[in-house]
Amino acid sequence: MSDTTHSRGPADDAAAATGRPETSSLRIILTLGVAGVMAGLLLVFVFQATQPTILAYKAKMLKLAVEEVLQGPDSYLTLYLVDGALTAELLAGSEEDAYEQIYMGLDAAGKVTGIAAAHSRPGFQEHVKVIFGFDPSDGRMMGMKVLESKETPGLGDKIEKDEEFVAQFTRALAPLEAVKKGRGDGDPHQVDIITGATISSRCVVDVINEAYARWNPLVEQMQGATRP
């Protein structure tokens, strides 16, 4: 747009110098308009063509992560946080992504086996995003998976790759307490942090504690309401 106001400025001299005829403002606006509309149409077409694949992939990755941290439930339900309470049903017409979500794993009989939630906190470099599963009846961890992190390769990224570290999140009890390796006294709340990745592994513990403290009361409140 601002280019049109310039058409009588230096560009005019340049046009005169190269012997180029002056272009009318109408033609300039028309060219940009046509180019814009063509670009828009092409993008809408590609968007329509690629969007289903992209959404399907995202849904698949989420499903795999939820099933992993809930130790393979028979099925799971998505719970939405609406007006401070959890619900599995959304009002017709409201958008799913507008609400925060957690996932409730069920066994074949429809009994709740675990709750999965995702959360993030600043780590060593960037936010570390983690999804984890816990049993709401006793606060026992069921699994932990790092979804996003830019921690240092070879050091901080052990929070994903160190199997011993990850395995601790299938038995520890919430709220977790981070302790140096070998300094624990057998308390089931304790999690050994990785030497050389202290900040990153503490970050995982903090993420889980924060999310557990937030979601567990809501889950209890919901279960209390459905099971009078």
Binding site: S2, A39, G40, L43, V44, F47, P122, Q125, E126
Partner: protein, 192 residues
């Protein structure tokens, strides 16, 4: 509040735009020969970054929600025209400021730090104030990197550098060392 401080610090030193994300390398190579120029370039950058952050937020919240595929196009078009409007406005209302920043403004339009800021802000879902903190942090970080680089280069002119290493190769290796030094800031965020 702690969140805003973290965003600012993170963009400024932990994930410095130039030294960790390689954004804004053109001015980093081009105008880092003198401290004075580097400082002014940095200030002009902060200015444009803040305005861009505001525009990106407006676009994201009111227009692009319904048409995410127009994001890249609308960002680049809005940034380019905006910088031009700002340039004209400064020229008219504050000739002194224009003297200080003016020549750098057109250069900034093609600076990848500006579009980078808009896109990172969108990807991370920052709100208005988070975006502004991010922009100020990124701008301060760019300025810091530029001024540090310029002061090292001013000194290196008096050193006896082998003729082979003069020019870009030397700048790259100095930048590498600075980037290595900035890695020491990592972990700062987890304290907040």
């Amino acid at each position: 509040m702690g969140d805003l401080v973290w965003i600012l610090l993170s963009a400024m030193v932990v994930n410095n735009f130039t030294l960790a994300l390689f954004l804004g390398l053109c001015p980093f190579m081009g105008v880092s020969a003198r401290v004075e120029t580097a400082l002014r370039m940095g200030l002009a950058n902060i200015f444009v970054l803040v305005i861009t952050s505001l525009c990106a937020w407006l676009l994201n919240s009111f227009v692009l929600e319904h048409a995410p595929f127009l994001r890249i196009i609308s960002f680049i078009v809005v940034i380019a025209s905006l910088v031009q409007i700002v340039e004209m406005a400064i020229k008219k209302f504050s000739p002194v400021l224009f003297q200080q920043l003016g020549i750098f403004l057109p250069l900034i339009t093609t600076n990848c730090a500006i579009l980078g800021l808009a896109i990172f802000q969108t990807n991370r879902g920052y709100g208005l104030f988070q975006g502004l903190a991010f922009a100020v942090g990124a701008g301060l970080g760019l300025t810091l990197a530029l001024v540090l680089m310029a002061s090292i280069r001013e000194d290196s002119e008096r050193a006896t550098v082998p003729s082979l290493a003069r020019g870009t190769a030397l700048v790259m290796i100095i930048a590498g060392s600075l980037s290595l030094a900035f890695m020491g800031f990592a972990g700062l965020g987890s304290a907040t």
